[in-house]
Symmetry: D2
């Protein structure tokens, strides 16, 4: 583990990361053009940007784009397993951002990384927080809001968050972290909220949280819903998953896909991409789906639509394409 | 039914047939080039050619190619259902060949057509038979050989073929036809055999019959095995069937294929073409196959390999790709 | 041509039509269930229903469903080429509807058929028109509205429609027909409009016309937009076209598709279905598309997106999937 | 680099390797059944087996199968880049074989590994060589034959191999290694050849070398042609490449494949697998091919067949599926 104002698995992977970043830049002409067109104007000059988004090669290109536009950047991943260590190494070594991410974090480490990514080591008059958040899943936004609530309670009567008040293992950690810094910095999160220009959020889950907070009048700063843009839902979900699913299975298992029996739970955009990917890989592919329109689409594409239960004896691979509760249940699937 | 020295369903379809023949000529550059290169030399000048091969638009182009090379041609179909009546009409009307074929022949009519196709109405010194046979399935070749055998028996002791000697409905008809002409023309088939330069045969079944006769020393004239040329087995069987199977099902039933459950019995070249066609049409496609290598290929392409019995309750479409006995049986399939 | 209170190409095709109708009923469980559930209640008892919709086997099943629910039905096709003559024959012979439709109508015949389909031969107190229209493309609805306008002008000052007032060949025919009946029945179309419960419309073009009339306050009766239901746009357009395109090309040309170069003009739902169908058939398939999102979808599926002009030298098959002006133009395509 | 009677990149990867070996065993029921059936009989008891074959997880399963049948095994990879270091680590740590292989060997290291794999550290009466070779590409077999030739020359007149006699960088290394050991062990390779029961070879290249030697009367021991078995050419080449090509590109580049332009040079079994893999991944896929039958197959599958030259401006990915000289040349491709 290598550390400075960063924490990554192996800084010696930086060269490999840099080479793949160069390949990826060629693949991301939109960002390249943005730098070309706006780089000189430095529209993000001085902006502090905190990101909580899979620390991959492609994210590295995004980070360096923001940097070239003038941004001052800190980053963590939004998933304990998704970091590409060579990407993180290149970003850290080349000073593109203060990055706190590695493959295989514990949950405690994950939230420490988030804390590090949102806390500038050189506070200014407006505090130690960012001007902008690039969020994926809403964890960083959650931390700000929970911190803000805790500060209110603390200001009122000195109450500290009680990690034992929740059964949720992850939320317990969030409360622990907030509790730790609260006495020293009782206005940290209020300053963060006050300073924040806004957050961009690119997942269904995260957007759902934001709408809930917004409707309840509890959202502390503006948010941009990236998730529902057509280039996200119709491309990232469909083609992104179509590409990434077999790639991920191959890297994780080194097992041949052709001839395997795969079931895709859910046939929305993600499910469609996954189903076509498995079919293209030569899997006998079936689908579970409770929405009748989506189920009919699956049938028209030649996928058998069956309950998960009816296939348990023969399946080799189960892919769930939704976090919705019930996707595995007998009634729906 | 229109008749002259031909018999077709509806001579008024000739214009439609001609238009499609013109389209097909564009699709068959090999034949077109042959005419271009050899037409002037008339290599088939005076050759009597009898064909027993599906009387389709494409066959029409073949017939007219042979004609342009100098041939004198008579034709019938090798299947009671396969004639395209507009193709037959164009050939008949424009005098390209004496053609005896229509969609929906009875078995009796089928063999009468074969008899007509192999019997020139203007016999010459060598008799009324052809110099060459273009055979598909071997029926015309069979007729010659059975006629020849019957003539031998008749010459020996006046024995006539006995249609009641066989339970095979079709062979009964063959014997009846031979019996009818035998007394008037007791050397018809010997003359045919003596004159014959040879037969080309393009089916597995027909080639199998020829090898059997050849090995038994009973083949009366040379034969060319067209079936086993690579452009037949690897193209006609695979891509021809891939194209024709859904086309045929659609024309015959006007039923949508997407979402149907189809089983392909056999996964040789024909079966591969059929399986890919049904999959491409959106069918849930399974395969039955007793050969382990072919079965493994099916599995690697994502087709479930199952016995036919195990699917009988749920199938919509059953395609058999082989005439082999046993393809449907429990052990093999 | 066979005639009674119907006009079809060949009444002897009725048996073939009936057989395919029976196959189709099995494929259309929604309609079958409707009859099962509502047949006894006869909800359409006495309703006069006029249809202008491709007179195919599937439409025949719809007609007979309406009949079984109590309807009194007259029908024509909405396209001069789309009638399946065996379907029309079965409907005519079995008295399911008074049907006026055959494959290969002239434009004059087409509008006479429409006139026949909307005019009951046994008028009642409310006139000779229908209570409901099942429209596809809006031609029958157009006829009512044009008739109604002409009657207004005629009532005002005896003006008759002037076919020479338009360059549009088809509209000339519409005006001629209206002009012919106007003096004898000066209130025919007002009665039709007054009686009409409503029209259902299932095409983009027809729906567009209806919205235009509705926005201008000129729509004479209620209309249901069937076109924009999800089972239409996401199934009929996509899977319907995927199924029908190669089927139609095969029937019309008897030409092999594998290896041909096909371009699909437009990559909306119809274009997507067409592109996948051609690709599945083994065509080298390209796409023209001016919408950037749709163009990107095509690219992600492996279709080259090119202008039509750049491919004119090498194309075998051009498919236009849109009636939009400009789809072929250099700028857009 | 970890060393014992083995040399691997990182012995700490052994746990990860072991886990994947366990997954792979499930995927290789043929080997598992062999152990089950013959393990007790120990048919390879005491046999010294040297392997030169990609040191992957799957090869690890093969090695351990041979071990369980009684074999005494030494191994190297047949490619400087193909070793999976976690596979090698598991084999080394668990003593399954003496393994000399890591990802990213130099050519010198590669041949030292080969030398190590073929040289037992505990010679017996028959020398220090193996009883059997499992070869892939023929490098180990080449080393034996070149050593044998060098020993003959040395025995005759003390001539030592002259590395400067060849321009081939790799052959220079082979000669250097042989030269080094020749004086100390002037009969090493004769003993190896005398002892050898035989070699199995699984590549076209290696088999070609063997046939050449056999025809010239220079093959020193029996060889089994594994390459031409149907399960190799029709499965490994086709489905193996179909699986591995996109997997390899993804791991090496982290770049999305959909929408890229890929050309496959050669459309034999390997080329077919590669072409289908790229097409399935959403690439615009073209093929170069000089054999007319294979080119026609490509065309029938909807791949444009073009020369490489004509596409150089627009290509993103070039895949060569053959080592044949000329595959890239203007005339052939």
């Amino acid at each position: 583990m290598a550390q400075g104002d960063y924490r990554v698995a192996d800084i010696s992977l930086a060269d490999f990361g840099r080479r793949e970043i160069e390949l990826a830049e060629y693949e991301m002409p939109g960002l390249m053009k943005t730098v070309e067109e706006y780089g000189a104007a430095q529209p993000l000059k001085g902006a502090r940007i905190a990101g909580s988004l899979h620390m991959t090669i492609q994210t590295a290109v995004l980070i360096e784009t923001l940097k070239k536009l003038g941004g001052d950047i800190r980053w963590c991943s939004c998933n304990i397993f998704s970091t590409q260590d060579h990407a993180a190494a290149a970003i850290a070594r080349d000073g593109s951002a203060a990055v706190f991410a590695w493959k295989g974090e514990t949950l405690e480490e994950y939230w420490e990384c988030t804390m590090n990514a949102i806390t500038w080591t050189n506070p200014d008059a407006k505090g130690d927080g960012p001007d902008l958040i690039v969020d994926d899943g809403g964890d960083m936004t959650l931390l700000v809001h929970e911190g803000w609530k805790a500060e209110n309670a603390y200001a009122k009567d000195g109450t500290l968050p009680d990690p034992s008040s929740t059964d949720n293992a992850e939320f317990k950690i969030v409360l622990t972290i907030i509790k730790r810094t609260l006495p020293q910095q009782p206005d940290k999160w209020h300053k963060v909220a006050a300073r924040m220009k806004g957050v961009s959020e690119e997942t269904t889950t995260g957007v759902h949280r934001l709408y809930t907070m917004s409707n309840a009048g509890e959202l502390l700063f503006p948010a941009i819903n990236v998730n529902d843009s057509v280039t996200k839902s119709k491309f990232d979900n469909l083609y992104g998953c179509k590409h990434s699913l077999p790639d991920g299975i191959c890297r994780a298992t080194d097992v041949m896909l052709a001839g395997k029996r795969a079931v895709i739970c859910g046939y929305g955009d993600v499910g469609k991409g996954c189903a076509f990917a498995m079919k293209a890989a030569g899997c006998v592919t079936t689908v579970t789906e409770c929405d009748p329109i989506c189920a009919l689409q699956a049938a028209m594409e030649g996928f058998q639509v069956k309950t998960l239960e009816s296939q348990l004896d023969t399946l080799d691979i189960v892919i769930t394409t939704t976090g919705n509760k019930g996707a595995f249940c007998g009634v729906c699937s």
